[in-house]
Each structure stands twice: as C-alpha cells, then as structure tokens.
C-alpha cells in the first residue's frame, strides 16, 4: 500500500510542478531553517515513512511545508504548529512521541530498562566479587590461563619497557 502510494505520489510529482512552493518563496517572512526544523518533526502524509523534511520536493510534502510556512508567518511557536497538525491529522502525524502523557513512556522505556539492567548487573557483580573475597580463594596465578603467545608478548614487553 505504502509502496503504491509512494509510486503514485512520484508520478504526480513527475507530471506537475508545484506552484505553491514558488508562491511561498515570494514572501519570506520566516527563515527556511525554522520551516525545516518543524518539517523534521512531522511525518509526511505521502506514506513513505519519512519526515516532511526528508521527503523532498513532492506535492504532499510541499503542501505540508506551505502550511508550516503560513503558521510560522502568523507568528506561531513550534509547539503550536505541531498541535495544529495533530488537530488536522491526528497524533500520528508527529514524528516522535510527545514527552508527556503516554508518549513519555516511549522515551523512558529504554532508559529505565538500561538503568534497571545496569543496577541488577552492577549489584550482582558486586555480590559476586565480594562473595569470592570472603571465601579467600587464592589469587589468580599470573598467566595461569593466558595462552602461550599472549605470555610471550607480555614477557617481551616487560623486557623492553
């Protein structure tokens, strides 16, 4: 479906030059960097699973860019413009989850998992190492289980350093 949508979109783009972009270029009351930044936070409606910023010059992406330009020209903030798009197309138009509500879970999930994993790992290692210390096992003899080559390298290094 998305592949078909992409092909159709490209065909449309192939056949028609967008006048809208040129019209927008005539009234630069904003910077393109501002528009690009917001375009990078919105998914393109063309179905290609890329942001408007990455979608290049096609009718749908340029239409969305025009809306961004109009909104920036009206003096709206980035957050307000994203809200405007979310109202128009639904939350799924935003390229990344919001850092509030259920979207916050997307951001925190990996962080919590890694911190929890690190805590479990660190705790287990500490317990492991301290248990071994209490048993007073003999310290490892030097080069006990290094292979012959590694041992030779070590000896050579000692001799020359």
């Amino acid at each position: 479906m998305s592949r078909l949508a992409l092909a159709t979109m490209l065909l449309m783009a192939f056949l028609a030059l967008e006048g809208s972009m040129m019209a927008a270029q005539a009234q630069p009351s904003y910077t393109e960097a501002e528009v690009d930044a917001i375009a990078g936070e919105l998914m393109c409606e063309c179905g290609a699973a890329v942001t408007v910023a990455d979608c290049g010059n096609n009718t749908i992406a340029n239409g969305m860019r025009d809306i961004i330009r109009q909104q920036v020209a009206l003096g709206k903030s980035s957050g307000e413009i994203l809200d405007h798009f979310a109202t128009l197309y639904g939350e799924c138009i935003l390229a990344e989850p919001r850092k509030s509500g259920i979207g916050l879970a997307a951001w925190l999930g990996p962080l919590v998992a890694i911190i929890a994993g690190g805590a479990v790992l660190g705790g287990s290692m500490w317990a492991w190492a301290s248990r071994r210390g209490r048993r007073r096992e003999p310290p490892p003899t030097s080069h006990q289980d290094l292979d012959e080559y590694e041992r030779r390298v070590e000896e050579e290094l000692k001799r020359f350093e």
């Binding site: 998305s2 592949r3 092909a7 490209l10 065909l11 783009a13 192939f14 028609a16 030059l17 972009m21 040129m22 990078g40 936070e41 998914m43 179905g47 699973a49 890329v50 942001t51 990455d54 979608c55 290049g56 010059n57 096609n58 639904g90 939350e91 799924c92 138009i93 935003l94 390229a95 990344e96 989850p97 259920i102 979207g103 997307a106 951001w107 999930g109 990996p110 998992a113 890694i114 994993g117 690190g118 790992l121 290692m125 500490w126 492991w128 190492a129 248990r131 071994r132 310290p139 490892p140 289980d145 290094l146 292979d147 080559y149 030779r152 390298v153 050579e156 290094l157 020359f160 350093e161």
Partner: protein
Amino acid sequence: MGDIGYVALVIAFVLAAYATGASLIAVRTGQGDLWLSARNAVWVTVALTSLASAALLYSLLSRDFGLRYVAEYTSRDLSIPLTLSAWWAGQAGSLLFWSWLLAVFAGAVLIQNRRQNHELTPYTLSVIMAILAFFLGVVLFAENPFEKLPATPADGLGLNPLLRNKGMLYHPPMLYLGYVGFTVPYAYAMAALMSGRLGNQWIHASRRWILFAWLFLGAGNLLGAQWAYTVLGWGGFWGWDPVENASLMPWLTGTAFLHSVMIQQRRGMLKVWNLALIITTFSLCLFGTAVTRGGILSSVHSFSAGPLGWLLVGLIAVVLLVSLRLLWERMPDLRSEHELDSLISRESNFLFNNLILVGAAFAIFWGSIFPLLSEAVQGSSITVGPSFYNQVTGPIFLAMIVLMGLCPLIGWRKASPENLMRNFLIPVSVALAAGVLLYGQGIRSLAALLAFPAMAFVAAVSLQEFYRGVRARVRADRDNLLWALPRLVWSNKPRYGGQIVHLGTILIAMGVASYFMYSTSASAILAPGESLSVGRYELTFDGVEQRSTETRDLVAANLAVTRDGEPDGTIMPEKVLFRRQQSVMTNIGLRAGLREDLYVILGSIGDDGRVSIEAFVNPMVTWIWIGGGVMLAGTLIAFWPDSRERRRALHLPEMELRTLESSRV
C-alpha cells in the same frame, strides 16, 4: 513442473515432521536404526526442497505464467538474473527459499557432526527439522508458490520497479542467510538443554554458525543501507523503518552473544545468560521475518500482509515458551564454575558491553512496537519516527564504542594498576589529541567532541594490539617486519580477526556519525541557467535530456558542477517512468568520494522546463561501505579453520582444550 515441485514439498513436509520425532525418540531410546532412518529423512528432505526450488526456478525462467507466483513477479522483459531473484521477491517464493536454506543447513549439521557430538546432534536435528516442518507447512497450506491460475495470462505483471536492481540479487539472500543461520546455534542450545550436556560442547559446535549468521545478517543490513542510499533516493541510508529495525535487533543481540560466549568458554560463567541470549536472538530473527514477510508492523518495506505474520507470531510464542521452560528446568545445573574476581576485569567489561548491546536492541524493539502499544492503550497510534531513534540510540551507541575500546585493554580476571596504566596511556593520549584537534578545527558540538575521540580511542586500542604483537614477533622470533603482521594475524585468527572487525566497526561509526551530524542539503526550483549552492558545490541547471527504452522513459536534469569555484564536470539525476507499471523511480546523481558524497535528486519537471532539485553533501559515507569490507575481512579471518584448533581437539583433554581455546578469542 509446478506439480513436481508441489509433490516434492508435500513429501518434504511429511519427512521433516518424521525426522523431528524420529531423532528425538532415537536418542531417548538409543535406537541406532531409527537414528539412521532420521538422518536419511533429513537427506531426502534436503533433496526434495532442492527439487521444489529447482522446479520454481525453472517455472520462473520458462515464464510459466500459469502459476500465480510466476505471473505476479516476472514478465517477459525481465532479465535472467532478476528473474532468478524473483525466487525471494514474493512471499511464497521467499518462504520456500527460507525452507531450502534451513534444509541445507540441516544437512551441513549432519556433515559437521559425523564424527563428533553424537549426544547433541539428534536433538539439534530434531529442533531444526521441527522449525523446517513449520515453514514447509506454511508454504503448503498458506503460501503455495505452485498455485495455478484459472487462465494463463500472455505476460506477467513483472517485478516491482524498486526491486529491479542488482541489490535485489544479494541483499535479500544475505539477510535470509543470517536469519536462517541463527536457527542452528539456537538448535544447538536447545540440544544442550534437552540432553543435559550443558558445558561448552554446544558453544564449540555452534561457534562458526554464530559467526556465519552474524556475518550475513550484518552484511545484509549494510548492503540494504547501500541499496537505500543509491536506489531509493531520499538522501539517506537508514530510515529506522520497522523492517530495518527488525534486522538490526538480532544482529545486536547476536553481537552480545558472540562476546558473552567467550566468558563461558574461558571461565565457565554466564551459562544461563548465553542461552537466554541465543533464544532472544532467534526469536528476533523470527520477528524480523514476521515484520518483513508478514507485515505485522506498518512499514514501507513490508511486502505483504496476511495470515503469515500471525502464524510467525504464534511460532515465536511457542519457541519462547518451550525454550524458557527448558531453561527453567535446567537452571540448577547451569551454575557458574567460577565467580567474578574483580569489578575491573574483562569479564565485567563484557557484561556491560552485553547490557549496552541488549539495551540498544530493546530500545529499537520498544520504538518499533510502541505504535501498536499506544493504539491498544489509547485507541490511536503514536508515531515513532527517525528522530526518536537517533536521540535514544545515539548515546547508547557511543557507550558501546567506548566499551569496545576498553575491553581489550583490561585483563581477564583482575586488572592490575600497572596493566591499566601501560595499556591505556597511548589510546587515551590519542583520544585527547583527537579532541583537541577537532576543537582547534572549530568543532563545538558536544556530541562530535565525544564521539570522534571515542572512535580514535578504539582505533588506537586495536592498532596498539597489532603493534605490540608485531614487535614481539620481530624480537622473539626474528620475524621479517613485512611478514610479522600477516603471521601474527594467522597465528591467532579469532583474536586478530576480532580486532579487524573492531576497526571496521569504527570506520562505519565514523561514516554514520559524520553523516548524521554534518550532512547538509539544499533544494530549489531551477530554470535553465539558474544555480543552487550546497556545501562547497554549486550546481547550474543546463536543461533536461530525454530518452526512451523499450520499457521506460527517462528524463535527466543536466547540472554543471563547480567545486570551490572550479568547474568539476556534470551530474545528471534522472526520473524513470516504467510505462507498463505506470510508476516513477528516481535515479540519483551521485559523486562519491572519501571526504564526502555529492548526492542530487531530481524532484519534478515542469511544463515550463523548470525542475525541482534537492542536493545533499554527505560527509564520509563511503567509509561506511569500506568499514563493511573491513568487517567482512575480519570475520572471515576469525572464521577460517585453524590447524592449532584441530590439533588441540585431537590431542588435548577437554579441560585443557577449553582453557586454551577460550584464551585465543
């Protein structure tokens, strides 16, 4: 021919199911005849799946449009190589390809174990044949490549234009080799759990299979990235699409597994963790197949939807339930043989390396399924786009790079302060020098000032390993300086192969980081004579050129290039209209170099002769492909058979063998 293929598949399915049960009963009851019968069933299954595959290839090449699959994926104008690639272009064909690979791997396992691992092999074969029976069942009952059409059309629909590329010849099969390849180490792990032989035997037996699957999965990902970059034409090589994510996740957990098995080999620790990792990796391979072929997540790459996705989800559930149950039952026998000697040791470093690799895989998994989760919770889907993954995985990958550098510097068991000082001095100095140099060059981004010195640190660690080894060889063995390096690498292939892989990884990381941090782009609508500036380039539009072939119309924008103000030839991005499919493709204009790529996309062409052009300057992307080649070379060296390994296997008792083997990696 289609009938022959279908009948072959029916018999193969029955025999795969028979071999599953027969192997298991034979090993449990000690019936040698039954085991011989099961082995014969495996060989006949290999022959029958090969016959079915040959029948499909013959039907594709002979344009037998009476078969639905042939009519849907080929046409008379398709070249022979692309016609052959139609084997894996569609769902039914690719599932047959999956099954054929697995059957061949089952045969290879039999050959590998004709004189060893007699206790493990029947269990291993039983697991492989059970999975093969599942896939053959899906091919027969849900996705039959030999299904006939009521009427034979004069010509087929042909391959999707996006797939009409040489990348189609090698990218999908490489990924499949990786996905299917991980079935074998998983089967060995299950064999260890079922047989109760929980030592290192299964790891020794599966070591090369792990490397094999890991290599092909990695190479498949990289070639996919190159395909996306040069063919899909959106300016990048990695879009964090669910299908891309699905093939990266098992590679990450597979990388963790490759490292953690070293601790088990060397110290007899982490047995449960290693088993859990290979179960996870194989489940992620099935998940990847479900995403790619079953369309269970919305993706630009998902090639079809239907019952297959949910059948595979069912298989994943069964695999997880059975595997974790077995693992749980064997838990008391899986105690570590040693304990951790020190918090600062190579073992602890490997554990944190594992945490980061699995954490990265989890972050990507979480992002991939979050749209489904959010839809289930609140009724509307939340998009998780590329910017999320870039922000979340960036710091994780940075930590991974740092740990990659630390690992070889810290000794096994317990690192002494002298050991640390001697090993760290040069790499840390190199990293600091790189940081100062970058700062001096005007780089102020914190991410860049952390990432690039970290990469310099890892590269210095690897090069230091080689330098010390070569120096020791020259001094101790009076080796010729020229020959010392290859002899050093050959003397310990797993160790130095691994270091070469690390160097390749750094080259890839350098290219990826440079691209994400410093890629620049510009777009404009140009009339003839007008120019567009991007980076140090200026592109002047000189008009369009049109030509037609038998099947397509091409329109190219002719752009004169100046670099730093000097004329530098032309670049010609194209639009291609495939007349029959009425679909348009973009052929990018690409000038690749070691420093940067000039990458130009032709957007649209107006009736008034104006064109929309988008141009990118992507720094150091070529190093990603070079790094991939270096990784491939390193993996092949590590993979190469080792005469010392064979001698040890023949002459040394098991304990001694284990110590020596593990110390080499």
